[in-house]
Assembly symmetry: C2
Homo-oligomer: 365 residues x 2
């Protein structure tokens, strides 16, 4: 069996005999791995919802174990739980480090459920030979990021692998948050007419990483946007408790997140090319590197699907918050072209924005 | 600055400029890393207790954030939280796989707090080139282990690193459990006269791994003891709610766990050489390989410190449980030689069992 796809679309996992980088890229190959390997083995009512985090709630549960667990946790309100591993290289980059990402990434996954992030666990896999001073710097940045986000790292673990079996440092964090009783994200389905908002410029994180890797220098250096978003989310929910859905467009970028939303909600999405906010330096770097900013990872931005009637109020609330100053309406949910994301171009045409297949930027987070 | 220790004991972390394998071995070098890097950066009232898992309880908390978090979680009873990364090689071994370890290891860390384990998160770091079939096998074993342990994997993440930057597959799991209100492990201090129990034979896991790596064959093959222990713990707590403390002697073996207990509780510990339960095949393999079974990792055993008056009852309860059939009293807590673990040898002498410095068996879990 070869390692290449035998047909163009959809890509059945069975045509890959071995893991390729694209299996970790958040696009169609990642989806194949999840749907072909992980979900069939682990399937349960929380995991199957495929959100950025799992909300341990008894609503709608039918299976015995899950219901039993929900009852045990029932008095806690609704716990949100999430995990991510971080394998970014380089370990330190303009605007952040793997330690900042390890806090912000998991905090943000919790925030996308409307949860207040409370505690994190941290697992470190160190490669033999890593400089202790480099580790100390990253751990200090991680601790500062946790303090600033108001989360506490309550449990940790360290493993060491031989030289040549790691890449300096990998970090996993898992997070627990509490979803306030009044938050009902996901209760109302996404529907045609809803507006797609984005909280700011896109592509900054990915291009900050790539500019270091490629040795590019720009007049205005590109810095990662890595930041915690739960404060912004809280402001947005106060402005409109009926926000339909939140996603942070990390791996695979805005294109992957919008495609996921279109697929899960069985709707079409239309975005306006003119509305896509990209910093000039990021746009220039994308041209040089042949990248599409819609496919590039962000670590401090979110997408929101909101009822049309509330869009202006949410946008105003976002713009009044430091993490949402550049928020814009990006497009809308439509009844046509179900499960497809389409961009209206500046010259009046349309093009489909597909779920990225595999890896545009390996090891981005 | 050299990579070797400048003095024998204690070993200041600053004498290492780079990470060595021993920093991940659960012995003195791991302690240096924790005390020199992680605790100073992340210090909080839960992490500082350095248990196998953190119990998110408001008892005794003084800091603002921690208290605030405890209040948010307060109604859940007491949540236990733990994390571990798994880097064992080979990925599949007699008696188990990295997938079984990833479930049992974290379930057991929760169980050592007396918690009922409820949910896990799972983070996978795959190396490019890993066979999809090998991944599927391990994921299926992991799913089976979770079902058998009664825990649900509610959130996951997959990253892929380039060929040569991983070792097939690393897994991180984090776990959440609930400590029943009546459980008060850790409320009563360990004190002289208390008895040290072990739930069965030691060294099986480590020697199962080593026999594969070294290509050793024995008449009776050595299998890992990997298993979930929360059922056994529940039985033990029913027999004696006043059990002082539980630990699972994984990395660094019984020697590391007993030294940790002696240090944290500021007591001496005395164990009897004749009482140490070791399977004949494990003892033989240890001789061939030059290993001390007290230093070898276990993945389905626990140590318990119990009041002398309850020792017989707890031992009887353990022996009546499938995971504790070979339980024995290993020794006792003493007032003498505070913070030292001493073994009474068969011929009547005594020798100190030190905290292992570094790595006897790399990549064991």
């Amino acid at each position: 069996m070869s390692d290449g796809p035998a047909s163009a679309c959809p890509l059945p996992l069975r045509d890959y005999a071995h893991v390729v980088l694209g299996h970790g890229a958040g696009g169609a190959l990642s989806r194949d791995l999840i749907e072909g390997i992980f979900l069939p083995a682990f399937s349960n009512e929380w995991l199957d919802q495929r959100g950025d985090s799992a909300v341990l709630d008894s609503t709608g549960l039918s299976s015995g174990t899950a219901l039993d667990i929900a009852r045990h946790l029932g008095n806690a309100g609704r716990l949100a739980v999430s995990t991510d591993s971080y394998v970014v290289r380089p370990l330190v980059f303009p605007g952040g480090s793997i330690g900042d990402l390890a806090v912000h990434g998991t905090v943000n996954d919790l925030a996308m459920s409307g949860a207040r992030p409370l505690v994190l666990t941290a697992g470190f896999i160190l490669e033999e030979g890593l400089a202790i001073a480099a580790l100390a710097t990253i751990v200090e940045r991680m601790a500062r990021a946790a303090r600033e986000a108001g989360v506490v790292i309550v449990a940790g673990d360290t493993k060491v692998v031989e030289r040549g079996h790691g890449d300096g440092l990998y970090i996993n964090t898992a997070g627990i948050g509490v979803v306030p009783p009044e938050v009902r994200l996901g209760n109302e389905p996404v529907r045609p007419g809803d507006v797609v908002l984005v909280s700011g410029t896109i592509g900054d994180h990915g291009l900050a990483i790539m500019s270091v890797r490629e040795g590019l220098e720009f007049d205005a250096p590109i810095a990662s946007d890595t930041a915690p978003l739960h404060g912004l989310v809280s402001t947005m929910l106060a402005a409109c408790p009926g926000i339909r859905l939140l996603r942070d467009p990390t791996r695979g970028g805005v294109a992957a997140s919008l495609n996921e939303i279109a697929a899960l909600a069985s709707v079409g999405i239309e975005i306006d090319e003119d509305a896509v906010p990209v910093r000039p330096a990021v746009a220039a770097a994308c041209e040089i590197l042949g990248l599409d900013p819609l496919l590039v990872a962000n670590e401090g931005k979110l997408l929101a699907i909101v009822p049309a009637a509330a869009a202006d109020a949410v946008l105003a609330a976002m713009r009044a918050h430091p993490r949402g100053r550049d928020a814009v309406a990006l497009g809308r949910i439509v009844a046509a072209h179900t499960q497809l994301v389409v961009m209206r171009t500046a010259i009046g045409g349309t093009r489909v924005i597909p779920l990225p297949l595999g890896e545009q930027l390996p090891r981005i987070c």
